[in-house]
């Protein structure tokens, strides 16, 4: 894998073939960006960097939006051919977000893949957003959570698939990661990587 970090901090994955999933995610994040900040977390981060698996949902956090802004965002989203799986009532969708629940966005006529979107709510989410890495390939640009947080987070979730994602990211980035940061998140989430060869 050739990954180039530009002086402005953007990570370029030159030559990466754009998948239909990338296009779907980009078409939604482009709309989100008109209204607020977002950060992609969890499985799709590993997939972006080459993990050979599909996914039915893409997790992302957004900054808080007031009700009027969210209504404009939703209108834009619906005009572009997307919908909320949870309800057709946008007021209800907004209430779910305010109750710290996730809402799901899919393309018209589809159930999967979908984007699972939440307001950011804790220190981990705030860190992921404030230190988000900007990834660029072809004409696509995404903001993704730092890998030093994603590996402990995946170990914390703990399913076979999550642990495989953590091991994959570790194998790919182990020489370039900030060991102190990785250790700090592992301690805070009370997870251990040694059983899986993740030794920091």
């Amino acid at each position: 894998m050739r990954i180039a970090s530009a002086p402005d901090g953007i990570i370029h994955i030159d030559g990466k073939v754009v998948t239909a999933l990338d296009r779907f995610v980009a078409s939604v994040t482009e709309i989100i960006e008109r209204y607020t900040r977002y950060v992609i977390v969890s499985g799709y981060v590993a997939i972006l960097f080459g993990r050979a698996r599909g996914t039915e949902d893409i997790d992302l956090y957004i900054d808080y939006m007031d009700r009027d802004t969210f209504m404009s965002f939703s209108e834009d989203l619906l005009e572009q051919g997307f919908y909320f799986l949870n309800s057709d009532d946008i007021g209800e969708i907004y209430s779910m977000l305010c109750d710290r629940l996730a809402v799901r966005i899919a393309g018209a006529g589809r159930i999967i893949p979908n984007i699972e979107m939440k307001f950011k709510k804790d220190d981990f989410d705030r860190y992921a957003m404030s230190r988000a890495k900007r990834i660029q390939f072809d004409d696509i640009r995404f903001f993704v959570s730092p890998i030093e947080l994603q590996i402990p987070y995946k170990l914390y979730l703990g399913s076979d698939k999550d642990i495989e994602d953590a091991v994959y990211l570790w194998m790919l980035f182990r020489e370039t990661l900030d060991g102190d940061l990785l250790r700090m998140f592992m301690e805070r989430l009370q997870v251990r990587g040694e059983p899986y060869g993740i030794e920091v």
Binding site: V17, R104, L157, Y168, M171, L189
Partner: protein, 72 residues
């Protein structure tokens, strides 16, 4: 009927594959690994149009399997 399935062995085999795959992705040009990955993901994407569950059935399954995480 007895099901002979060693869960731990299966897990270790999967992890070994993930490690091998990561090493290969590190070694080959982006055009190579991403072409292979795109073939797989695009096939999933295409097939997802035939998803059998309704909106409400799908959301029910999501609620059942999703743990509430610290970061999520």
């Amino acid at each position: 009927m007895e099901l002979r399935f060693d869960r731990e062995k299966n897990r270790q085999e999967r992890l070994a594959f993930v490690r091998r795959h990561a090493l290969r992705v590190r070694e080959v040009p982006n055009e190579v690994w991403s072409r292979e990955q795109a073939d797989l993901i695009d096939a999933f994407f295409e097939n997802a149009q035939n998803f059998a569950l309704s909106r409400s059935e799908y959301l029910r399954t999501c609620r059942r399997r999703r743990p509430e995480a610290v970061h999520g």
